[in-house]
Symmetry: D2
Subunit: 401 residues, 4 copies
């Protein structure tokens, strides 16, 4: 028969809700069988709503539920390490929400926990699993846009739903930890997870909210082959949730819009009910998303995770990826302080160790290096040429292309 899984869900916040909606969605054969919350009320209500037979307010009890074989960690950041330790000790497969840790050091301990016990471990970075992203990654692998030169990932909204996100100690940071972890892993996927991130430059500031953590941040990540990643995060964006990725390659361009412009446009003078996560208004022009859990990647993410468990292979996103993301975030915070580029410090690098610089536009013409070719309005072809010896740059019009 088709293999299926019984799950312990840790956490009943927004992310626990999205995960359970996905796991119980469509014709899925997997089911949450125990749920944990720090609050008895929330645990009970959640179990009832989602038809889950057992609930706990005791973390160890939930993890050690004898029926379940998979533990999903959907807890605040400062509880990830404890939860993973319990699940690893129980020998269960572990799926942990993003970010893996609050710091690279914490993430490394979490990684070591699962690797030393040998349990399956998947990193729940949903946004690299959106159907658009998966298809875009495939197109890039097929060569559709040539070598990737630059990837921008932007995730901004008006701020998270739960109190703990806003607390620097529990969360480990602000918008960069919360949203930047998505962007960084998206960028790594587009540029190539095998390409080492070398150094970062980051700006962070608290522009709008009365909090200690940053509510806005921008970062650049330089990779070993010369490619550049660029992330933009904000908790003060107005107009909904802006999730966009842009990728520039030597042969093409990809633009993905995951939320505000996906082909669903509605003008209303009021009354349409719940529109979408973090929509900033209820009347006027709205831009809902069809199936949120699919568009945000949750569906394909859990499919990959469970198929990986069943097949005894690694999932697309591992705890090691989570560790790399934390290491980049650490470098970002250092850079925001030092105001200069900071190296990405990785105790372990499992990707390629020698990569070529991106191969650009290398063509010769009549003994010159070709700088550019362009078709003019009158049909002639204009060439910009560089003399290989003198370096002088000239232009020439030729009849045929």
């Amino acid at each position: 028969m088709l293999p299926s899984h019984k799950i312990t869900m840790l956490g009943t916040g927004l992310i626990g809700l999205f995960y359970t909606m996905t796991l119980h969605g469509q014709r899925s054969r997997d089911r949450v069988r125990r749920v944990y919350s720090r609050s008895e009320d929330r645990a009970k209500a959640f179990a009832e709503k989602w038809d889950i037979p057992r609930w706990s307010t005791d973390l160890a009890e939930a993890v050690n539920d004898p029926e379940t074989d998979v533990v999903v960690v959907g807890l605040p950041n400062h509880l990830h390490e404890q939860a993973v330790r319990l699940a690893a000790e129980a020998g269960k497969a572990i799926l942990c929400t993003k970010p893996l840790g609050r710091t690279a050091a914490e993430a490394k301990r979490i990684l070591d926990l699962v690797e030393s016990t040998g349990v399956f471990a998947g990193y729940l970075e949903d946004l690299v699993y959106t159907p658009k992203t998966l298809k875009a990654l495939q197109a890039i692998e097929n060569g559709a846009i040539g070598d990737v030169l630059w990837a921008r990932s932007r995730e901004t909204h008006s701020g998270p739903h739960s109190d703990w996100f806003w607390d620097l100690d529990q969360a480990g940071g602000g918008a960069i930890v919360d949203l930047g972890c998505h962007c960084i892993e998206i960028i790594r996927n587009f540029i190539g997870k095998d390409i080492r991130p070398v150094e970062v430059m980051c700006w962070a500031d608290t522009l709008v909210h009365p909090i200690d953590a940053e509510d806005n941040g921008i970062g650049l990540i330089r990779f070993a082959n010369g490619a550049i990643g660029q992330f933009e995060v904000s908790w003060s964006f107005r107009g909904g949730m802006d999730l966009r990725d842009e990728v520039a390659g030597t042969e093409g361009t990809i633009w993905l819009n995951h939320f505000l412009r996906t082909g669903f446009e509605m003008f209303t003078s009021g009354g349409g009910g719940y529109v979408a996560e973090k929509a900033d208004q209820e009347t006027g022009w709205l831009f809902p998303v069809g199936d949120e859990v699919s568009e945000l990647g949750y569906t394909d993410m859990f499919t990959d995770m469970f198929e990986a468990i069943d097949a005894g292979r690694e999932p697309m996103e591992t705890f090691y990826d989570g560790y790399v993301v934390n290491a980049i975030i650490d470098a970002c915070y250092r850079s925001a302080q030092s105001k200069q580029w900071e190296p990405v410090e990785l105790d372990v690098w499992r990707g390629a160790t020698a990569v070529d610089q991106i191969k650009g536009f290398k063509q010769d013409y009549d003994g010159h290096q070709l700088v550019k070719r362009e078709r003019m309005p009158d049909g002639t072809l204009k060439l910009i040429l560089k003399n290989k010896e003198t370096g002088e740059i000239t232009q020439r019009f030729v009849e045929e292309g």
Copy 2:
């Protein structure tokens, strides 16, 4: 345990492929266990590719597979009736692709077959199940756009993949039967399936291809409450597959774009592999769709169908709906000939029998009927008023809104 289903799939063309991709997709617990094709080669190849244990070139054998409890009809239009008869006699649940029949008479016989035997019957009109459409229908039910006045559904591409579509006899028509059946049912869902379609006006012509059937068609459908449906279909559209719906209500507007502008934009100088169903080019700006089977509604459609079977309820789309669609198409073809509005002839009408005309903008102001109110650039409010006795229309500027 979670209920699951074993399926006989009739047909291995594009639609059988999409259906099977969906049924075996993500973490689904349902599986195709026997496949039928008229060609042994295609049957074998399909079974192998999709890990289906048994195949047939004999329709009755496939339908009567002892393990399967559901028969999915994905055959050319002229074979629907025969397939449904066999499946109804076998007492199995039947899911039939669109259109139900080639004519209303054929559809009515098919409807009678399943109703007389009492088997479960679902009409596989996927495009009313797209996540965007489902959410839009919910918003309309919530009152987000007031009363629906007009719904436009447009489905155009460069023509179908298989030979039988182009044959008037096997298909029962051209672009209107092939694509209009989608549009008509989308329109019915937006305007309200309870509202009777009264009459239609239709233009059809063969503008581009050397065929007997129409390759272009436009139709208007007037409903009992005054609302208007408008469909546009074409087999000669250039630029990909244009699937758009627009809905105008007294309080709002909805625009859905299912294919060419869904937030995925890619420029390529070549090499990205298979882009999307019916894309018209392989280089330049392309507009792929993330997860086609989800965006086209197949996922939610089969979920509804199997949940309906499990719960002993009707699915969202029934064979009766398929019959109504065929009756509207019949009226369209009559109108295209007669060049006048033609009544929609329904032997059985199961919706509302007395509906009010759409309630428009009915407000009074200072003893007049209010025709329009508008805020002017200088902040004053301009009222267009109608004298209730004389009918005279005047305008008035007032200070406050």
Copy 3:
């Protein structure tokens, strides 16, 4: 020196305002020197605002201003004939707003007035002069989309600003006369002004407002070469002003959006001032237009008109075009009553008298007619073929394209 013009502006409503903004805009060398309004207050205020030296409440006095050489008619529809007569008698160049008349008969009298006196006469159909439309027409002339099969023009908003529009007698109709005249002339330009409009089918209804005229209408126009025009007009659209054109050709497609999606998107929680003509809201996502008078075609329209006067040539839009539009509108109203296709009655037809039907996809392959060719995901080429003798349709896979 550069030739310039002195203008009498008849009318101070929204259209007079837009015209004067354009005429006095940028570095224009033409100027309005006298303005007429039925109301002394409005005439004075308008003259002061736009630095116009003279104003009148007497139509003849305004037309006969000794300094002006051009009369612009921006009056309600029922006053066009009188104004044109006065201007023609004065021997001045006449530019008349749309529609030319309330009926084809009235338009014909207006046409005869200017042709018998020989004065210059331009029809101010601004929407065929939008920069996008002009460039699209040029692309079509260059063959970019092959033969035009279908043109859709849609103009909908929440209803006009002034009282007289809502009065059937003064306006001569409702949304079809007000907005359909734009759509019809846009369609004619895309399909070819030389191609005779043969017959129309039209639906019209009063769905929302307490008025005698239609507030919604849809029409189909069949042209002599088989091409189809489709217009959609409404005074009950919510969400702003929807001005879109779509054109389908044998080799391509054109989509124009003149207002709601032109690359300017703004989310505001309030306070941004006047947004755009007929915007339906002041907060949330708004879609303003950059330079309205340019985007709506006024700038290029007046440039063409004055250049035509200076060069002694016809403008792009003539009173004859206005007459054809009125003849099509007349047929629309007849069709809305008769519920069947109605012929377009033209006393005079100045276009082509013998046109070929659109040439479609006419290719042969191996003794068959080629119905369709399509590249499959596996790289093979699939051909749909028609046997020239039997008419049988088959498919064939070939290796090379």
Copy 4:
């Protein structure tokens, strides 16, 4: 009579062409009366094409043409200083293309030249004059998006047309000098030209072309009030010319797209002629722009310049602005070398000297600082609150909004 101007045009490259198209466009009353090119052939051809009575290959002769009162500098960067000196000595109004100089030092000398002689001087930064930008700036001034927090300006294409751009010495830099100067001044306009740019962080690299200058660059500019500007420039972008601005404010958001998505979409299988500046393809989906010289701001720019001359006022963009832009670019190049934030060095600062930091979200609730308020799906209001003394962050659900 209406004042008009006679112009000497220096340069016949693409920018001289666009300037002349604009100056002679629509019903303009100004005219180019002498044109200068280093090449006699190009000077003659240009004069003939644009009906310009006189041409020169001698710069001084062209500047000193006795009929002209305005000199437009459309020359390569390294010739700006010489041309401005000649024009200033001739006492003529000077309009200089972007960038003003190759370095801030050069720009400062150019600024001093015109200020010491007192001639009118306008900086031809067209992209702050696009109709969309002008309207967006007005909306920001009206308070539509609150305080501006961040402005992104992106200008990328496949590289410039003429040889000298690619030569580091003549151009003074690569993509940052060529395109970044636009972005920087756009950013300054959105954030406020009165707010001092304090420091910059910049990445630059030569990824694709065989040249000495950078072909890609990204920069961050921190302003005195905490706002952040972000520019992205590239000479290796594929897919056309990507000109987009995004602005985030405390109360709203603005997105401008000047080129690739402006409401004009065309699919063609070939043959539509010249599409747009720097379009990267000739078939498939194309995104032309209606009136390029209007959309790119040239029309409104020259209108402002000439109106400023006529009114004896400063234009919107002055040589001082050009100098500030060069100072920011200088800091960018230093930062790209030093890999840290570099101060913007301005010998003269004419804006505000004491500005407040951006005022964010400062509200109290029940003795706490309000961090966030959000409407939940069930209609309750969720507040995130910060204890003013302990700094602890908690959440609370309240019934009413």
